[in-house]
Symmetry: C2
Subunit: 243 residues, 2 copies
């Protein structure tokens, strides 16, 4: 892990860009904390630069709650090399959506499964590197982003003790198998009228999660209309489980 830039944001949050091999990422920590902090991994749909305003807002809330926060670029997004098969799957998806066709399982599988296979080891390697820093010690929470990645990480990464998931992306069938393996506390956010999301599938996925403690918070509005109080509830969830 190599830090390549550092700036202090106005609320005493230290923002450092880093690379881990070819993967770009951002780490946010308190500029004034003396003890090592728990960590929230900030998920997203890909494209760090475009997502930055929302990511930094979530990271600031985490730092304000006493945590460090970090994110990495997804494979094939942002400045990372494109994957021709993923690009084809994305084109198929766009075509189906524009034509008003149902999005078939094979399109979702082709788009999301290779992403999960590549991204999950990258998040875990990032976790190795972050937990080696003196300012971070865990426990670790994972928050948001592509739900299939979040569910896989929640199922297999023992250092992640709580997951906040956003039911706002296409779900491969295999993710239901992952969901049944999840046992950590899970907080699922659902936008009731999400135009990119099948509501019944989101409810079924919530039902499939194996966790004894799980909560579904559904709010009105579309994909990007998550109300501020929903973010507050998610922050409360992490505050409860990462201390």
């Amino acid at each position: 892990m190599r830090f390549i830039s550092e700036q202090r944001l106005d609320d005493d949050v230290l923002e450092r860009e880093f690379t881990l091999g070819e993967i770009p990422g951002i780490l946010w920590t308190s500029g004034s904390a003396s003890a090592p902090a728990p960590l929230v991994l900030v998920g997203h749909p890909g494209g760090l630069r475009a997502m930055y305003p929302r990511l930094v807002a979530r990271a600031r809330q985490s730092v304000a709650n006493g945590f460090a926060a970090a994110t990495i670029e997804l494979p094939g997004s942002g400045d990372r090399p494109r994957d021709p098969a993923a690009e084809q799957a994305r084109a198929d998806l766009r075509w189906a959506l524009e034509a008003g066709e149902p999005v078939g399982d094979e399109i979702v599988d082709a788009l999301v499964l290779p992403l999960v296979e590549k991204a999950v080891p990258e998040w875990r390697a990032t976790l190795d590197a972050l937990l080696a820093l003196p300012e971070i010690d865990g426990p670790v929470g994972y928050s948001g982003g592509v739900i299939a990645i979040g569910v896989r990480l929640a199922a297999i990464e023992p250092r992640i003790v709580a997951a906040g998931l956003f039911a706002g992306s296409f779900v491969p069938r295999a993710t239901f198998d992952d969901a049944r393996q999840v046992t950590i506390p899970v907080h699922v956010l659902l936008q009731w009228d999400d135009e990119w999301n099948d509501r019944q599938q989101a409810l079924d996925l919530f039902d499939a999660l194996g966790s004894r403690e799980k909560a579904l918070h559904a709010n009105m509005g579309g994909h990007t209309g998550v109300p501020a109080h929903a973010g507050d509830d998610a922050a409360t969830f992490f505050a409860r489980h990462l201390k």
Copy 2:
């Protein structure tokens, strides 16, 4: 409204039992507040005496948040005269449940609709009396209890500005019509494995609510297993809307 007893609970909550005509009720206010407070109406399934421990816990939380809280006995429950038709419907329901039969719409309608017709005017008359007290001035929230009563009150009582509903009781078909008339912010609590509740029906009722701001919070567990943090979330909802 006639006050018939008064005691000061140990956290400076003033608890007064009252009667409004033949209806018994309880009012909880801060023992030290100087300004008139907003009011939370504390709903329940009937039987003030049996429900008292849970009611007083909810009332204390409301008072701690700067509100007054009040409840009244439901028609046909507690010490109030039994209604033969309601008793018959209750027996039919118990029989269906014990026999493992589906609970038909006609049983639910016979049990719940007359209750809504009687209880709603009583809550509204109670509201008239409570809002005439110098220590209370509104706005008013309604919380929990028989969901058909809560939905009807939310639909027709203009002094109620926010409703916290518990999807844990049988829902007559007519309640869906009421739900579509609701426009105030609504916070719905659903126990995912509630043994007294049809999950799909609860989701459909949430969907039917006409409110622009509505949230569904689903948690694991049965009817009485509502986690403490779900109560905190509901309190946050009222804090947001009753100030």
